[in-house]
Symmetry: C2
Amino acid sequence: MTSTVKNAEINPEILSFGEPVYARVCEHIRQDILSGKLEAGFRLKIHGLCQRYNVSQMPIREALQQLQGEGLIVIEPNRGAYVRRVDEHFIKNMYDIRGAIDALLARLGIPNLTDESLEKILEIQERYEEFAHAKDTNVFLTINKQFHHEFYMLADNPEALQIMERQWGLIDTLRAKYGFGPTRLIEIMSEHRELLEAYEHRNIALAERIARDHCEKAKIDLLQQIRDKKGFDKKEDRP
Amino acid sequence: MTSTVKNAEINPEILSFGEPVYARVCEHIRQDILSGKLEAGFRLKIHGLCQRYNVSQMPIREALQQLQGEGLIVIEPNRGAYVRRVDEHFIKNMYDIRGAIDALLARLGIPNLTDESLEKILEIQERYEEFAHAKDTNVFLTINKQFHHEFYMLADNPEALQIMERQWGLIDTLRAKYGFGPTRLIEIMSEHRELLEAYEHRNIALAERIARDHCEKAKIDLLQQIRDKKGFDKKEDRP
DNA sequence: CCATCTCATATTGTATACAATATATAAAAA
DNA sequence: TTTTTATATATTGTATACAATATGAGATGG
């Protein structure tokens, strides 16, 4: 082999696996956005990302294009890329959509409900209640995701799951940042219990209503948290 | 300026505007997929696209990444890109999702309903009925889109609109290919009339139900059309 | 005849050079 | 002082060379 290695050392963490660099970089940036390390509105300069990941521009550019397709960032041609900015409208709209989707998934899922899945959900719920007093937002978000994931699985509609997950990450990011209202954690617990009961009784109409209300209340709570803590919608880099 | 032009002529249709090439190529491929020119499963080889658009690989690759983010194509690392394959499950799932979203938009939109918007919708509906006997699927799809677009606007939830439009294009492509069932066009007309009436009376619950049923019937019709005309799910290029 | 290996070819992936565009700074004119 | 213009710098966009990987055909061994 007559390979002419003329490039300097490459970040082994990025190159490591057989996966292409652009895929790895894409995943990395996505996580940085969803974890809140890269805040909404943050300007993503290609050169900066090149240094950060120690690779050339092209894999970076490809990663950014994919993230734009996913809606996590916005690329203005010849001007640059920014982490998508979210406003109260976006939050309201996403919760409304989620309410509709969750209701749908209840309708689709209840006919497929088995005793095993019911038990599994109950188990998650109990773990949830265990941590209810801990007040650790991230632990909550994780268990919460597991809880709803079980319902989603029952419905057997991966497209709905994918559509929601694609953008819902941004909402979870906000929730991690602003937390829950003082009484919200207790309310969530009982709302989940109610939902579980509706499933147990195979009461589709009731489950739909509870799922929608659940989202509605979560929406109100998050918006309230944001208004309380303020600091929202500051530090602009570019409109 | 000491520019050293060493590249051959560039396709002026692609380069023309101030828009970057990758954006133009992206739009072009997207249209080719949605219009059915590039069928589901079609292998998108970079070199082939380079020749087709007479540009180098990089803009092509960036365009493909974005389309993958949008979900229109699938890129298997180191193996290639394919137009997303759709199966009956996908169709069923998308119609279910659309039913839920349309119901939501009815609920959100009715409170915002004005006489002007009502009149505009009625106008579209009349144009619809005018063309009902023409049996031109594409004309139908266009007018149909206008009809529903008005309802979507009332709801003031651009995220829902965007989420739907992103993937719904693939369904319209199938509809354009397989057409409507013999009695379906008449049914659509009356279903739209019913929906319009429910809006007129500001009957949210009724409008929700009609919107969902409308999607349910459309789903059944499309699946039937596909089964009838066969030829579906053939000509594979790669799993 | 079948399985496996080798090697040529095709295709995708990455780095780099350079071009095009936007942004910022400073000088000139009003 | 304000506005405009010129110029330099920074940043994005494109083409090309080359590297890495996958694919397929023929050879080799069982």
